[in-house]
C-alpha cells in the first residue's frame, strides 16, 4: 500500500467518522441562530467562528458533512442500482434492447450534468430527496455505459460461451457469469462519481436549489459565505476545505480501488 493509498483511506475514514458521530459532538445546535453573536471570528468559544446568523461554523460543518456525504453515497448507490443492471442487460442482450436503452442514456448524456440536475430540481422543487434524485439521474447513464461496455466485452468470453453450450439460460449466465465480472469497473467509477456528486450537491446548494435552510450542507454554507468575503472570510474557508479534503479522499480511494481491481495487475 502506497502513501497515496494510505492518505486517501485516512481522509475518507476521518470524514466518514465525522459524518457518523460528528453531529453528536457538535458543540452547538447547527440550526439555531444566536443573533447576539453574528460573524464572530474563530475563538475558544467558537473554534471556527460563527456565521451571519450567529450559528457555530464547526457544528454546521459537522452536520453539513453528514448531509453532503449522504447525498453523495445515496445518489451514487441509487444510480448504480438502476444504471448498472440496465447497462448489463443492454450490453449482453444487444439488438433492439441495446438500442432503446442506450438512446435513453444518450438523451440524459446530451445535457451537461449540472444543467440536468438544475432542471430536475427546478421542476420538482428544492429538497434533500430531490437533490439526491437529481444527482442520481445525472450519474445513472455514466454507470450504465460502463456496465454495458463490460457486458459486451464479456459476452463472447470462452467461459460465457461454455455456459451457453452447457444449456444455461441467458438470464442465468448474465447473473452468474457476466455481472460479477463486470462489476469492478462499475465500483471504481462509482467511487469517482461520489466525489463529483458531492461537488454537484455543493453547486446546487450554492445556487439555492439543493439542501434547504436551516439544514446545513457544505454547498449552502459556501453560498451563505459569498456575501461576506470582505467581512468574514472564514465562512468560506472551512466548508471549502471540507469539500476539498473529501473530494481528494474519494479520488485517492477511487485510484486505489482501480489499482486493486485491475485484472491486468
Amino acid at each position: 500500500m502506497t502513501a497515496r493509498d494510505r492518505l486517501g483511506i485516512v481522509i475518507l475514514g476521518l470524514m466518514l467518522l465525522a459524518a457518523a458521530i460528528g453531529p453528536a459532538l457538535c458543540p452547538y445546535d447547527p440550526a439555531v441562530p444566536d443573533f447576539l453573536a453574528t460573524l464572530a471570528p474563530p475563538s475558544t468559544a467558537h473554534w471556527l467562528g460563527t456565521d451571519d446568523l450567529g450559528r457555530d461554523v464547526l457544528s454546521r460543518i459537522l452536520a453539513g458533512g453528514r448531509v453532503s456525504l449522504l447525498v453523495g453515497v445515496v445518489s451514487v448507490a441509487a444510480a448504480a442500482l438502476v444504471g448498472a443492471p440496465l447497462g448489463l442487460v443492454s450490453g449482453f442482450v444487444g439488438g433492439w434492447t441495446d438500442s432503446v436503452i442506450m438512446r435513453c442514456t444518450d438523451v440524459l448524456l446530451a445535457f451537461p450534468g449540472l444543467l440536468l440536475a438544475l432542471a430536475i430540481t427546478a421542476a420538482l422543487g428544492s429538497s434533500l430527496p430531490t437533490t439526491i434524485l437529481a444527482i442520481a439521474v445525472v450519474n445513472l447513464p455514466v454507470l450504465a455505459r460502463v456496465a454495458r461496455g463490460q457486458a459486451m466485452a464479456l459476452r463472447h468470453m470462452d467461459y460465457v460461451v461454455a455456459e451457453r453450450a452447457l444449456g444455461f439460460g441467458e438470464w442465468t449466465i448474465l447473473r452468474r457469469c457476466v455481472a460479477p465480472n463486470a462489476l469492478s469497473p462499475v465500483i471504481v467509477q462509482a467511487s469517482l462519481l461520489l466525489a463529483s456528486s458531492i461537488i454537484t450537491e455543493s453547486y446546487l446548494s450554492f445556487l439555492g436549489l439543493g439542501v434547504q435552510p436551516p439544514m446545513p450542507s457544505w454547498g449552502n454554507m459556501l453560498h451563505d459565505a459569498i456575501g461576506f468575503l470582505d467581512q468574514a472570510v472564514w465562512l468560506a474557508w472551512f466548508p471549502g476545505l471540507a469539500i476539498f479534503a473529501t473530494v481528494l479522499g474519494f479520488n485517492l480511494a477511487g485510484d486505489t480501488l482501480r489499482d486493486r481491481l485491475d485484472p491486468r495487475d
Partner: protein, 500 residues
C-alpha cells in the same frame, strides 16, 4: 531606446487628470451595474422595479419628481382647474427619438393606451378615476376625473407619465417592448439580452443636449459581490443595490463612494388571508407578535435603513407616523393568540422567498423566531422571475412582497390593501380600509389626508394582513469621481451626472 525630455514627461503626467476629465466630458461612456436585465422597455407593461433604471433615462414623464418629492414640470406643466380637471401644457418643439412630435394628440394616445382594458396595461390602476382625456389645442389637453384623485400629479412622474411615440407603437407592435421609442435624454442603441443594454445621447431632449455621457451602458449583474468587484476595478462607475454588510468597509475606501438615503418602499411579507392558517386574524397576529424586526434590522441590514411598523415610509414625512407602534414583539402573547385560535402547536406554515442571500437570511430569522412561538416554518425558495406569479396566484402561506414605494403615500397602500387592489396579494377583503383608502385619495388637504392615513395604518396593524419588517435604505455606490443625484425611489436619473 528613445527617451522623452524630462519636461515633456512631467507635463504629460500633470496633464493626465485634465485630459482624462476632458475625454470624460466629450463622448464618455457611463457603465452601470444593475441587478437584473429589463423584461420590457414599454412602460405600459413594465412590472419590475429594476426596469426603471433604464426606463427613466430612455423615456420622459409629463411631470418630474424632485428628490424632495415635490412635482416639477417635465414634458408638460399643469394647473388644476377644479378638483376634477387637470390642464396640461406641453413644451413647444419637442420630438420623440424617432422625430415625431410630442403633442397633445400623442399624449392622449399614450394615456388611452395605458387605460384601455383591451390593451391590458398594468398602468390602468395608476390613473384611478380618470374619466376622459380632452385635447384642447395642439399642445394642451385636460385630464378629467370622475372623482377627486389627489395622487394624480405624482402618478404622472412615474411610469404612467412616460410618453412614448404612438407612431412607433403602431409600427413595431409587440417588438416595441425591445425597441421602445421615447422622449428621454438617451435613446436605445443596442440591447443584447442579459449582457448589455446601450443607450445613446438624444440631442432633442427638452432640457437640451447637456448630457455629460454619450452612452449609458447597463450591465445586468445579479450577484452583489460581482457588482462591487466591477466597481472597485473601475469596469463600472455606478452600481445599484450595495449589500448592507459592505457599506462600512466601502466608506473607508477612497476610489468609491457609497450613497444612501431612506427609500420610499417597504420590505414586507403578505399573509395569504384566503386560506388556513392565515385566514384567521389571530394566527396572523400571533406570527407578527413572534417576530422582532429589530433583529432583522441589525443582523440583515447591519443598521442601515429603519425598522418598519407599517406601509408609510419615513421618506414621505407628512404621511409617516414615527409614533405608530405596531404590534409588540412578544412570543408569549403569540402562543396565547395561537391557543385562542384553537390550533395545536406547532402550526405549520411555509415562507416563500426568492433565492437571494438577503431574503434567505430574513426567512431564517423568521423561521427561528416564529419557531420559538409555536410555529413550524419551512422556507420555500423560488426564482425571482416566479415571484410575481406566486403572488398573483396566491400560491403561498406567506410570501415576500416588497414594494419600491411611491412619492405619494396612496401608491404605498391603495394597490396593496383596497379590496380589488392589483397588489392585494394577501387577498385581504376589508370594507373599512377600502372606504378609508378612497377617502384619502379624494381628499386634497394634506393634513386631512395624513389623518386618514394614520387611521388606515392603525387598521392594518390590528388586522395584520401583511408583516412589515423594514424600510430599506437605498444603498448605491459610484466611482468617487462621479457626481450624480440620488433619489428616494432609488431610480438613476442621470441627465445631470458628471465625471469630475
Amino acid at each position: 531606446m528613445p527617451t522623452l525630455p524630462r519636461r515633456t514627461l512631467i507635463a504629460s503626467v500633470l496633464a493626465a487628470p485634465a485630459l482624462r476629465a476632458a475625454r470624460a466630458q466629450s463622448g464618455a461612456t457611463l457603465s452601470i451595474g444593475v441587478v437584473s436585465d429589463p423584461v420590457t422597455l414599454d412602460p405600459a407593461f413594465s412590472a419590475s422595479f429594476f426596469e426603471t433604471q433604464v426606463l427613466y433615462n430612455l423615456h420622459e414623464t409629463l411631470l418630474v419628481a424632485q428628490p424632495d418629492g415635490s412635482v416639477a414640470p417635465g414634458l408638460a406643466s399643469f394647473t388644476m382647474r377644479d378638483k376634477l380637471t387637470y390642464s396640461f401644457t406641453l413644451r413647444d418643439g419637442l420630438t420623440f427619438h424617432d422625430g415625431t412630435r410630442v403633442d397633445a394628440e400623442a399624449c392622449r394616445a399614450n394615456i388611452l393606451r395605458y387605460t384601455d382594458p383591451a390593451v391590458g396595461s398594468i398602468r390602468k390602476s395608476d390613473f384611478g378615476p380618470l374619466q376622459s382625456v380632452n385635447v384642447t389645442g395642439p399642445l394642451t389637453f385636460d385630464l378629467v376625473l370622475a372623482s377627486p384623485y389627489a395622487p394624480l400629479p405624482l402618478v404622472l412622474t412615474n411610469r404612467a407619465g412616460m410618453m412614448v411615440s404612438p407612431t412607433a407603437v403602431q409600427a413595431l407592435g409587440t417588438e416595441f417592448a425591445t425597441k421602445a421609442v421615447g422622449a428621454g435624454p438617451w435613446k436605445l442603441a443596442q440591447w443584447t439580452k442579459n449582457a448589455e443594454l446601450v443607450l445613446e445621447r438624444f440631442p432633442g431632449y427638452w432640457q437640451g443636449a447637456g448630457q455629460a455621457f454619450d452612452r449609458l451602458v447597463y450591465r445586468p449583474l445579479p450577484d452583489e459581490t460581482v457588482r462591487l468587484a466591477n466597481l472597485r476595478s473601475g469596469t463600472l462607475q455606478l452600481i445599484d443595490s450595495v449589500p448592507p454588510q459592505a457599506v462600512a468597509g466601502l466608506a473607508r475606501e477612497t476610489g468609491v463612494r457609497v450613497s444612501q438615503m431612506p427609500s420610499l418602499g417597504f420590505n414586507a411579507f403578505a399573509f395569504n388571508c384566503t386560506r388556513p392558517p392565515f385566514d384567521d386574524v389571530r394566527v396572523r397576529q400571533a406570527f407578527t407578535a413572534a417576530i422582532d424586526p429589530e433583529v432583522v434590522q441589525r443582523v440583515v441590514y447591519f443598521g442601515t435603513g429603519q425598522v418598519s411598523r407599517g406601509p408609510f415610509s419615513p421618506a414621505v414625512g407628512w404621511a409617516y407616523n414615527p409614533n405608530a407602534g405596531g404590534m409588540k414583539t412578544d412570543p408569549g402573547h403569540a402562543r396565547t393568540l395561537l391557543a385562542a385560535s384553537g390550533r395545536t402547536e406547532p402550526v405549520a406554515v411555509a415562507i416563500t422567498v426568492t433565492n437571494s442571500p438577503q431574503m434567505i437570511r430574513i426567512a431564517q430569522i423568521l423561521q427561528a423566531q416564529a419557531g420559538a412561538a409555536g410555529f413550524k416554518v419551512t422556507v420555500n425558495q423560488i426564482d425571482p422571475t416566479s415571484l410575481i406569479t406566486v403572488l398573483r396566484t396566491r400560491d403561498f402561506d406567506m410570501c415576500m412582497s416588497p414594494w419600491s414605494g411611491r412619492y405619494d403615500p396612496d401608491g404605498n397602500v391603495y394597490n396593496y390593501f383596497a379590496k380589488n387592489g392589483p397588489n392585494n396579494f394577501a387577498g385581504w377583503q376589508d370594507e373599512v380600509v377600502t372606504a378609508m383608502l378612497n377617502e384619502a385619495r379624494s381628499e386634497a388637504d394634506q393634513a386631512a389626508r395624513a389623518a386618514v392615513y394614520r387611521r388606515i395604518q392603525a387598521r392594518i396593524t390590528a388586522e395584520a394582513p401583511m408583516l412589515f419588517l423594514h424600510f430599506d435604505a437605498i444603498l448605491q455606490a459610484s466611482s468617487a469621481r462621479l457626481q450624480w443625484t440620488q433619489y428616494p425611489d432609488a431610480v438613476f436619473r442621470l441627465y445631470n451626472a458628471r465625471l469630475t
